[in-house]
Every structure is written in structure tokens, then in C-alpha cells.
Amino acid sequence: MLMRQPFVMRLARLHSGFGWAVLLLLTALALVVVPLLNQFVTPDSALYIPDWLVTLTGRFLCLALVALALDLIWGYTGILSLGHGAFFALGGYVMGMHLTHNRMETGTIPNFIQFLGRDDWPWFWVPFQSFWFTAVMVFLVPGALALVFGFFAFRSRVRGVYFAIITQALTFASMLFFYRTETGFGGNTGLTDFRELLGFSVREADTRLVLFMLSAVAVMLSYLLCRYIVTSKLGRVLVAIRDAESRVRFTGYNPLRYKLFVWTVSAMLCGLAGALYVPQTGVINPGEMAPANSIEMAVWVALGGRGTLVGALVGAGTVNGLKTWITAAYPDLWLFVLGGLFIAVTLFLPKGLMGLRQQMAGRSKQ
């Protein structure tokens, strides 16, 4: 039976008191401490947080959001997607299109559109002039693609590795599509050279700080949303689907709806992540849709621990931190490290870092 309980109470039960305390603390850290240390501490102080670090962390937060989204579909529902890069990049492109409008003076169009032999914006570019339209499309475009693709894939009961492979084909095909100059998205250069967003210069450190804070808020809200989903009965149906899908069906649930729901939510979260990411990096190009990128996302989740939302966040942070450090310090080494991570995690850390304690305990008992 459905209890008409107040929404707030349901929310409050998402976490234990301790969990909420940690969450609040982290939020305060991102929204108060970091801005203070960045703005009001002198650069020579040990506590000073430089601008580049703020932007870097902001980008990491976006990637963490992707990990969260992927965990929802892979960790909880057991559906490995190797195409989440496409949803991320779509969100990025939507935002990029708006930013491109912003950088052009009225009446002018970017070179890559001129090269197509036209002197006005193509129809699918026009509405992105509006920020609010863009803000909606950030969710709708990846969501619609996911919905259509997912409907057909799930309906024909494509599962497991087959699903993984066709999602890889999906991102690959999208990449080819965006690489084409003819399609009107800037070809392999993509969209770049952004100037302003809502009147603020995206190159300014202050704007970057705000973007960082927005990313933090986005991650926190998305985390709560995911938490809400996985702790509900719906979440248990998802786990049941992961365990024995046919059994779910014979119990009377239609897995198609459930899968389609999380799949689409997951894609939308990725779109949001992409849209926040792009103004912070200043560029979006089809390279983001390369299959390799999407697979890398899987290792974030696997390293952190599938089926634990915190694990996804931890994993994304760890891998990307390592990547930033190693690609700068030992560029040749990175792919070895990444490859090694893939192997080590699957062989030795099936539950990821979050399962490490449990695993240790299990071992010492033996």
C-alpha cells in the first residue's frame, strides 16, 4: 500500500544522522570554505586554494556526477553501459551551442557554419540562443536519445555484454556523426572559444568559482536523487533485475519500464554533468564520445565499488586525480597505469575500494 507520507520525512530517512552530518559538512566545505580560502586568503598562505585547483576540482565534480549516473545503471541494475560518454558529450554540446551563440555578435555566425555555405543559423541552432531552452535541453536531448535507444534495446531483451557492445557502437556512431563538418557542429574542432554565460565571462576566475559551486550542488542533489531511488522499493526491483531478470518478470514486474527509467535518468544526469563541464574546460569536441572515454568511466565506478553511490564518487576522484598527476609527470606511463587498474580491479577488487574493508575482514577470518 502507498502511504501518503510527507516527502520531507522520506528524504530524512535517506541517511542516518551521521550520514547527513557528513553530507552537510561536505556541502559547507564546497560552498563556504573553498570560496573563502580562494577569495580571502592571500596567495602566499598555506591555506590558499589557487584558481586552477578550483577549476580542476569543479571538473572532477562533473566527472563524479557521471560516475554516479553510471553506478545507477551498472552498479544497481547490472547494465553496463559503454556509451555514457555520448550522453555526457551531448549535454556538453547543448551547453556549447548556447555558449557559441553567446560568443557571436548578433547577425554573425561561426566560421564552421559559413563553410557549409550558409549565412544564417541552421534551424537546430536557433533556439539555443535562449538559456532556459538550453537548460531544458541539457536533460532532454540525452534523455530522449537514451529513451529511444533503451526502448529498442531493452524491448528486444538485449542484455549483458551485448548491451555493452551496442552502447559502444552508439557512442562510436555519435562520434562519427559529430566529426562530420556537414552536420553543423564544428567537425573535429568542436565548439570552443567561449566567452560568456548569462553575462558572466567564463574565463574569469570568479565565474569559475561559481561554476565549481554549482557543480558541487549538482553532485549533492544528484546524489540525493540517486539515494532516493536506490533506497526505494524501485531500487530493490533494480537489484532484483540485476540478480534474476526473468524471475522479476514472473513476479509480475515489467523490467522494461524499470530499466528504461533508470537508464534515462542516468543519461540525463550525464547530460547535466556535460553541461557543467564544458564552460569549465572551454571546449567540447567529438573526442569526448570516443569509446575509450566511456570505458574509462566504467573503471571509476569499478574502482570505487559498484552498487555503492559513495564508491562511484570516490572512484571518479581517485582515477582522475591519478590521471592528472601521472599524465603531467610521466606521460608515457599513464596508459600502463590505467590498463593495470582495469586488470587489478577486476581480478583483486571485485567490490572496489568500498568493499576493501569487507574483503580484508573476510580474508583475516579464513
Partner: protein, 570 residues
């Protein structure tokens, strides 16, 4: 060869290649192609005379001059003389390989060796190149030389040389040659040369004042269905300023119309055939790339994301074998490909066995984890290659016997390497089929894949069979790498381009079904080839993915469903 600019080489080369070459575009740079064509052309060019005497010698001697008028006279006299032995001189003149020194000796440079030989005596001479000058040529003279060369080539005993000559004349016949061309036609036995001669003669006769002769010419053209004569025929049908037909005789016009129709029909058949054959050849490449996967994924259900890298290792092994041959046994160089086949098989099989023993065997029950772990392996293999061989593509030289082209019918020809790949694909399929169906190993593999426990109970070591199956699948991928090395660039990312396609082939063909993979690979090749002109290469690819996804909706088991209870839930 260095003496030729590559554009010149292309031009010359094109003259030598029969009819329309179905362009072999992918994976080969313009330079590489030019080099190949120039090489073919070289084989048909004599680089020195066999000694000249008498009148020929006295005319050729006079080339040692800066005066272009004098040279023009010489060329005219040579034309009147029409002596085949002067051919090397004329060719050298046309290619700017003809020099003279202070003593007035006329010298020919051998483009391959850079040596000089005396045009009159035919003997090699040692000269310092700074003492040499070149005869002055005008473009008009050079234009005149080419048909002359063509005409002289027609006297050669060598079919290829005659064909080259006829080719030139079919393009640019000179009216005064008509009589001699007719004589030559009467003697010619080679059908291809005959065809070209007919075209040359018809082209000349089209301008004849006698309408009988013009009619005959149109009929000849209709007979040979030469695409290059189409525009001439079309111009016959045009009307002039007064609205009168250019061609006064109605019978000739009628014949021309028929001829155009015949030509167009031939053209569309040729296009269809060449698309088909080319599609098949693309399909064979796909097949070779996917076959190893069909074994590993199809039989063992192991998702091997490092499959592309196994292809790459096969290609690099070919590269190493090539270099070893160049270094240690240059005289056998043209056979390096044959040696590369077993070498690539063994090397990639070893890598595969290492992968299986080291990582994959611990993950058999967990397909998604296998996918991720093998992706990790692929990154490591790729980066290792990059560290050892560098990030750039390595240089592969196809052996000579593998670099020509084969004419399948008039207007449809295919580079030998592509034909070779088709043949090789079928060889590998046959091999796999044989091993799977006619050997003890194949029997054990099938037993283990169908029912592990049962096979184990019968004394088959499933563990060992897994290892060998994986090794064999990897080895077959290595063979695919050998083939790929001949048609695409060999670099560390080589495999990445094939991984998605290969999975598509296997999924489409029906997992576990090697025959299904054969059909789906060939089908995909042909399908995308026919789609390309309509949709463009990239869009064709996207459409293909969409089509596959739709296809899976309709038949989730692939083209050929696997029989039995496999596919049962969870």
C-alpha cells in the same frame, strides 16, 4: 625513380594501367600509390638502347644540342624512320632523362640505378653529372613524342609494352598514323591491344568525310563499348547553331545512339560489379578481423576487448619479418609475407595464451569483468607498442607480386592485394573450419563449449582446452593482422578501428556460429559499399549501426540462431 616527380609518375603510371582502375583508396597515401604505379611503369621502359647504327645513329647523334628547332627536326626524322630500336631514346627524352656531354655523346640515365649509358653504343659510361646538359624541349615537341613512343611500342614483342603504346594512341591518335594502325590491327593477336587499336582507329575515322567510314567507326565503338568514347558520340548527336545536327547522316546518328546505350549499359554493369567485388573485399577484411573474435567470443563467450590489439600485433609481426628479410635475406624479400603468416600466428597465439593464463581464466563466469580487464590489457599492449616502435605508422612494403592489379573484366579491376585478401580470408575460414570439424582439438573444443562438466567427465581437460582455444583464436586474429598490414597503415592504433566492427560482425552473424560470421562480414562489406555512394562513408557507417540495432530487434539471435537451450535466462 627519383628523377621523376611523383605527379609525373602518376601520369605515366596511369597510362600503363588498363582501362578504368577501381580506385584502391583506403589506407594508401597518394605517395604510396604513385610509387606503385611508377614501379609498374618502369618494368615496361627500357633504360638503354641495344646499340644504334646507320641512319638511326646519325639522327640520334644530333640530339646533342640546345637548339629546340634542331631537336624538332630530329623528332620528325625519327618519326619518319619509325625504328623501334630508338624507343629508349625517345622515352628518355620524354621523361627528361636524356643528356649530352661536352664530347657530344648522347646519354641516357637509368632512373633506377642512376647510371648513364651511351645512346649510340648502348654501353655504360662514367661521367660526372655536372658536365652534362639536357636537350631543350618545348611542350609541343614533347606532345609530339608521346604518340610516337606509342607507335613504336606497338612493334615490341612484349604485350605489356604494346598495350602501353596502344593505350597512348587510343587517347591521342594522329591522323597520319591511320594507315599504319590498320596494318598493325591486322597483325595484332592480343585482345586488349586489339581493342585499344580499334578505339584509336575509330576515333580517327569519326572525323572522316565519308559517312560509311563514320558509321563503321561508330559500330566499332559500340562493339568495344569504350566509355571514353562516349562524349565523342554524344557530340555527334548535338545540333549546331543553325539547329542542324552535327552529324548529317541519320544512319550514323542512329548507330551513335545505340552505341551510347550499349556503353551506358556496360558502365552500369561495371559499376555494379566493381561495387560488389570491392564490397566483398571490404567484407573479407572485416571477416579476417572478426574471425578470431568469432572463435574467442563465439565459442568461449569471452569478450576480448584486446582483440584489436591482437590484430595489431599480427601486423607488427609482419613488419618485423619484413625487416628481418630485408636485413638478412634480401634475395628472398618478396616471400616475406609467406613467412609472416606462421610467425604472426605463433606470436599472437602466445600473447593470447599469456592473456588467458594470466587474467582471463580467473574471470570466466563474469563476462562484464572480462570485458573491462581485456580492455586494460589492450591499453597496455597499445602503449607497449608505442614505446617500442614509436607512435608513428611503420613503413610496410608490399612484395612485388602483391602490388599489381588484376582485371576482372573490362572496367573492373582490383589491386592484387585486395584479391589476395579475399583469397586469404577464404583460406583462413577453411582452415578454421577444418580444425573445428575434422580434428581432435576441434572436437574437444566443441565438447567443452557445449557442456563443460560432461566433457570433463569424459576426460577432456576443460582448462587446457580453454587455453588452446583462446590461443587459436588469438592466432587467427594474428593472421588477420598480416592481411591488414598489406592494406592499411600499421600503427599502434590499428586495432582500435576494428574492434567495434568486429563485434558487430559476430553479433550479427549469431554468436557461436562461424559460418554466420562469414555471411555477416561479407554482407556488411557489400552493404556498406552500396550504401556509401548514396549516403557518404560516415553516414553509411552510422546507418549501418542503426540497421544492426534494428536487425537485432527483429532477430536477437543473429542471422543464424544457435540451436539448443543456450540463451536461457540467468
Amino acid at each position: 625513380m627519383r628523377g621523376l616527380s611523383w605527379k609525373g609518375a602518376i601520369l605515366l603510371g596511369l597510362l600503363m594501367v588498363p582501362a578504368v582502375v577501381v580506385a584502391d583508396t583506403d589506407g594508401m597515401s597518394a605517395d604510396e600509390r604513385a610509387e606503385k604505379l611508377a614501379e609498374q611503369q618502369k618494368k615496361q621502359t627500357q633504360t638503354r638502347t641495344e646499340g644504334l647504327s646507320g641512319e638511326a645513329a646519325s639522327i640520334v647523334e644530333r640530339l646533342a644540342t640546345d637548339d629546340w628547332q634542331a631537336i624538332n627536326d630530329v623528332v620528325e626524322e625519327l618519326e619518319a624512320l619509325a625504328a623501334p630500336e630508338t624507343l629508349p631514346v625517345l622515352q628518355a627524352l620524354s621523361d627528361r632523362r636524356l643528356y649530352f656531354d661536352e664530347q657530344g655523346r648522347v646519354l641516357i640515365e637509368d632512373p633506377a640505378t642512376g647510371e648513364y649509358s651511351d645512346a649510340i653504343t648502348g654501353e655504360t659510361v662514367e661521367v660526372a653529372s655536372e658536365n652534362l646538359s639536357q636537350p631543350t624541349l618545348t611542350n609541343a615537341i614533347r606532345r609530339g613524342i608521346r604518340p610516337l613512343i606509342g607507335q613504336l611500342q606497338l612493334f615490341s614483342d612484349d604485350v605489356a609494352t604494346r598495350r602501353a603504346g596502344a593505350e597512348e594512341l587510343a587517347d591521342r591518335p594522329r591522323p597520319e598514323m591511320l594507315g599504319r594502325l590498320k596494318e598493325l590491327r591486322a597483325e595484332e593477336s592480343n585482345p586488349e591491344v586489339l581493342r585499344l587499336l580499334n578505339i584509336a582507329i575509330a576515333r580517327l575515322q569519326l572525323d572522316a568525310s565519308d559517312s560509311e567510314e563514320r558509321l563503321e567507326a561508330v559500330e566499332v565503338i559500340a562493339d568495344v563499348r569504350s566509355a571514353r568514347m562516349k562524349s565523342e558520340l554524344e557530340s555527334l548527336l548535338e545540333t549546331d547553331a543553325q539547329g542542324d545536327p552535327v552529324e548529317p547522316d541519320a544512319a550514323v546518328r542512329e548507330a551513335a545512339r545505340d552505341a551510347i546505350e550499349a556503353i551506358e549499359e556496360r558502365q552500369s554493369t561495371a559499376r555494379f560489379l566493381s561495387d560488389l567485388v570491392y564490397g566483398l573485399s571490404m567484407g573479407s577484411v572485416l571477416l579476417l578481423a572478426a574471425l578470431g573474435l568469432a572463435i574467442i567470443f563465439g565459442l568461449m563467450r569471452v569478450i576480448n576487448m584486446a582483440h584489436g590489439e591482437l590484430l595489431m600485433i599480427g601486423a607488427y609481426t609482419t613488419f618485423i619479418v619484413q625487416n628481418l628479410f630485408a636485413l638478412m635475406a634480401p634475395q628472398w624479400f618478396s616471400f616475406y609475407l609467406l613467412a609472416a603468416i606462421p610467425a604472426a600466428f605463433v606470436v599472437t597465439a602466445l600473447v593470447g595464451i599469456l592473456m588467458e593464463r594470466g587474467v582471463i581464466r580467473f574471470l570466466y563466469a563474469r563476462p562484464l569483468e572480462t570485458l573491462l580487464a581485456t580492455w586494460g590489457i589492450s591499453l597496455i599492449l597499445m602503449q607497449t607498442t608505442r614505446v617500442i616502435f614509436g607512435a608513428q605508422n611503420v613503413r610496410m612494403a608490399s612484395p612485388e607480386w602483391f602490388s599489381g592489379s588484376v582485371q576482372l573484366m573490362q572496367g573492373v579491376s582490383l589491386s592484387t592485394s585486395r584479391v589476395g585478401v579475399i583469397a586469404f580470408a577464404f583460406f583462413v575460414v577453411a582452415l578454421v573450419w577444418f580444425v573445428m570439424n575434422r580434428t581432435r582439438l576441434g572436437l574437444e573444443v566443441r565438447a567443452v563449449m557445449q557442456n563443460r562438466e560432461m566433457a570433463a567427465a569424459l576426460g577432456v581437460s576443460a582448462n587446457r582446452v580453454d587455453m588452446w582455444t583462446f590461443g587459436a583464436g588469438a592466432g587467427v586474429a594474428g593472421l588477420g593482422g598480416v592481411a591488414l598490414s598489406q592494406i592499411v597503415n600499421v600503427g599502434p592504433e590499428l586495432g582500435q578501428n576494428y574492434i567495434v566492427d568486429s563485434f558487430m560482425v559476430v553479433v550479427l552473424g549469431g554468436v557461436g556460429n562461424i559460418l554466420g560470421s562469414v555471411f555477416s562480414a561479407l554482407g556488411l562489406g557489400v552493404f556498406s559499399k552500396f550504401l556509401e555512394p548514396v549516403a557518404g562513408a560516415v553516414l553509411a557507417k552510422i546507418l549501418l549501426f542503426v540497421a544492426i540495432i534494428v536487425f537485432i530487434q527483429w532477430r536477437p539471435q543473429g542471422i543464424f540462431a544457435l540451436k539448443g537451450r543456450a540463451g536461457d535466462d540467468d
